[in-house]
């Protein structure tokens, strides 16, 4: 359990780091375009594209970060339908189910990235291949699956939900 805890913590730091860096890129890219254009008479070609991609990284890698904090919105009205006694076991079943769903979606995300790699899909305006960037799609689901699985095995590792409704 200690090892798992350490791994999860490392993963969370990594994802938080990626989000902060990507968010900074969004701001720096757009600001340098505006300042370049208005002050130096020369904007930065492709700045908006870079900002769009960095936004996608924040929003999708952030998905896994939010999973690690049990921060996703969860409708609670159905909680009353099952007896309270089932609760502790049910929470673990819920995490197993979430893990399975994330693995399922992650598997198709891998297929999507593979087809993008095979077809050689590129960006508009900035003609780099997109598949390395698209890895965030399998990442968001598979990294979330790891979290849910860990929570199912070691319920003590699961933080208190932040935004349950």
């Amino acid at each position: 359990m200690e090892t798992t805890k350490l791994v999860l913590k490392g993963l969370r730091y990594l994802e938080a780091f990626i989000c902060v860096v990507a968010f900074s890129i969004v701001v720096i890219a757009l600001m340098s375009d505006v300042i370049g254009r208005e002050v130096f008479g020369h904007g930065v070609f492709g700045a908006q594209r870079v900002a769009v991609w960095a936004t996608a990284v924040v929003g999708l890698v952030g998905f896994a970060l939010v999973t690690s904090e049990a921060g996703h919105l969860r409708p609670q009205f159905a909680d009353r339908w099952l007896p309270r006694a089932a609760e502790p076991g049910l929470n673990r079943v819920a995490d197993v189910a979430s893990a399975l769903i994330c693995v399922f979606l992650g598997y198709y995300a891998v297929l999507f990235v593979r087809s993008s790699f095979e077809l050689g899909e590129r960006g508009v305006g900035i003609p780099i291949e997109l598949w390395p960037l698209q890895i965030i799609l399998p990442w968001m689901f598979l990294s979330s699956a790891v979290r849910h699985l860990s929570f199912a095995v070691f319920p003590a590792l699961k933080p208190l939900p932040k935004t349950e409704h």
Partner: protein
């Protein structure tokens, strides 16, 4: 049978305590595979193309700018300023919130951005000043929709492009209905809050609040000026607002409890002391960025799923068939008008405004013209209908964003906007029945 299966899937997942985003994702997968005859992979494709759009850029920027402003002191200073002038009126701050949304609507073309930019400042201000959470969320989520009726407006531009109607005329036609709705919202806000305590006006206090808030008050002016003089685009205005907020929170605004630098400190020491006593530092900024990332990470996947559902609808051709059915079976102009409005209201419930316009504008405009409705007026009718859709579940973007940004439950948000939806329904009838409200500036 297929739909029963979908319901069973959704309920089963809810009993199993799955998060909203996973429930919606699996329901969408189900629709792709069993209704639309597609593949699971299509959901993932749509995820990518939904995230890979320039139109989304302003969302994280205004979110972050708003968070910087509320974690720093801009929001507080703006509130002080507003409060100083509106406190003598009962419900004054609520009225000010509606008016601020309208003012901000005049510098950007989106509903969500308007709601976030004003809401991130006004929501904490309203709740801190004793207004109910429910009223505050409702007022801001609803007044945010002014963003697409008061020009400039991205949906009006889309309508103009799709139907070959002059966009400049559409913008002018949006002014009247936009101001009318603003007045109705403001009137309601005054009326429900008329029992709120009022305070005497203090000229000295107002002066102090103005001085303390001057840099914050300048921000809308800078943004409006920058956009209208062509310095930057509305999307880039988000980046400018953020940079401006960072500069004044890092280098200008001092924390409330700040002591002056000890006597005899050298220039370098004084600079260090100056920086150390400002509202914002790198550590706090990191926290704010991470906080905003979390919001975006809750919102973006939901937007991606909504976009996937829209793509399914687009590809199915169902909207086109509905319109043809409408034309084929009815001949009274008023019945057709009511039918069009019901169709648009339903569309507003399940689709985002952009897709609804792309699909319905070219189909409905000729129909409206055939019963004698001016195409510019019809554009306004269409946008007014879809504007209500921002506040209706299941796909009500202002609801979803308000829930994430203001950290309130979905149920609270839905209840909070109900009186405002009623006002908008009355407003919609006025806009339809009196074309002059839209067209007076064009005559």
């Amino acid at each position: 049978m297929v739909w029963l299966g979908m319901l069973a899937l959704a309920l089963g997942m809810l009993v199993l305590r799955q998060s909203l985003v996973l429930v919606l994702a699996m329901v969408t997968v189900y629709i792709h595979v069993f209704v639309a005859d597609g593949k699971v992979e299509y959901l993932i494709q749509d995820f990518w193309f939904a995230a890979d759009r320039e139109v989304l850029l302003s969302i994280p920027l205004f979110m972050l700018a708003g968070n910087v402003m509320s974690r720093g002191s801009i929001a507080r200073r703006l509130v002080n300023f507003m409060h100083a002038f509106t406190s003598p009126i009962p419900g004054g701050l609520a009225v000010a919130a509606v008016l601020s949304c309208a003012a901000f609507a005049a510098i950007n073309g989106s509903s969500i951005v308007t709601m976030l930019a004003i809401g991130s400042i006004m929501y904490p201000a309203l709740t801190a000043s004793g207004y109910s959470e429910r009223f505050a969320v409702g007022a801001i989520a609803s007044a945010g929709t002014l963003g697409i009726i008061i020009p400039p407006s991205i949906p009006l531009i889309l309508y103009g492009i799709m139907t070959d109607v002059n966009i400049a005329h559409l913008f002018l036609a949006g002014v009247g209905p936009g101001l009318l709705l603003m007045a109705m919202f403001a009137g309601y806000s005054f009326w429900v809050n008329r029992k709120m305590p009022r305070e005497p006006f203090s000229a000295a206090g107002a002066w102090r609040a103005t001085l303390g808030g001057i840099l914050a008050i300048a921000l809308p002016v800078i943004m409006m000026g920058g956009i209208y003089t062509g310095r930057f685009s509305p999307t880039e205005a988000g980046a400018v607002a953020l940079a401006y907020a960072l500069v004044i929170e890092f280098f200008v605004h001092a924390r409330a409890e700040t002591l002056p630098a000890p006597a005899g400190t050298g220039p370098v020491g004084r600079l260090k002391h100056h920086l150390a006593t400002r509202e914002m530092d790198l550590r706090l900024l990191g926290t704010v960025v991470l906080e905003t990332s979390r919001l975006l990470a809750i919102l973006l996947p939901l937007l991606c799923i909504a976009s996937s559902l829209n793509t399914i609808l687009d590809h199915s051709g169902a909207p086109k068939q509905m319109v043809q059915h409408l034309i084929g079976n009815i001949d009274s102009p008023w019945v057709i008008m009511v039918g069009i409005n019901l169709l648009l209201l339903v569309a507003g419930c399940v689709m985002d405004v952009g897709s609804a316009i792309l699909i319905f504008a070219p189909l409905l405009k000729p129909l409206a013209q055939s019963i004698g409705v001016d195409p510019v007026h019809f554009g306004i009718i269409m946008i007014s209908n879809l504007e209500i859709g921002y506040l209706t579940p299941p796909v009500g973007l202002n609801l979803i964003v308000a829930m994430a940004a203001f950290k309130v439950s979905f149920g609270t948000v839905i209840r909070s906007v109900q009186p405002f939806i009623a006002i908008m329904a009355a407003w919609l009838v006025l806009v339809i029945v009196y074309p002059a409200i839209s067209l007076f500036l064009l005559r």
